[in-house]
Symmetry: C2
Subunit: 109 residues, 2 copies
């Protein structure tokens, strides 16, 4: 699957967004992350897999634990994608306005 596609889908789930918030500032082990939710530990493990595949978190192994933390680059790429989505719109709108101004100054008929 296209990475940005995966990232958007990953972001569209509230549990996964909350996980991202939890590991924003410092890495946390899977178990501790899971302890913050009412659902089972394996369910959280699966969400972590989705986030990792989407490039939104990093995994690091330390002894018996697996530490997760938000992956800044992945988040930045997604942000950029979304910014462009809206910026393109604004750019086109701007060009439409400019075109109409030009046509007022120099009629083409």
């Amino acid at each position: 699957m296209y990475v940005m596609e995966a990232a958007l889908k990953a972001m569209s789930n509230p549990t996964r967004r909350e996980i991202l918030r939890l590991v924003q500032n410092d890495e946390k082990p899977a178990g501790e992350i899971a302890s913050n939710f009412p659902i089972s530990r394996p369910a959280i493990s699966q969400h972590l897999t989705v986030l990792k595949f989407a490039g939104l978190i990093d995994e690091r192994r330390s002894g018996v634990k697996r530490l997760y933390r938000t992956r800044v680059e992945g988040m930045a790429e997604l942000k950029e994608f979304l910014d462009n989505f809206w910026d393109n719109r604004l750019e086109r709108l701007k060009s439409v306005i400019e075109a109409s101004e030009v046509s007022r100054m120099e009629p083409s008929w």
Copy 2:
């Protein structure tokens, strides 16, 4: 469903993102929108319902046609939500750095 939730879910589908691009600059009737995709017209109609529910498009009836166009406010709200999602992260990171600078100047032990 929480509106922002609906908006994120709506954005996570590629067909719906393409619809948003199609009706970015000017309103288009449902049929014309559908003609741009390989899937059936009712399928597009259902996607339009999802986008409308999420507050990402506006619908206007003109005779027998229904004209759709991107809803700027909805898009702006979603953009703001996502900006805050990342900005909060950066804010907290910033405060952590500042705290460490303060502690270097005025050791607390």
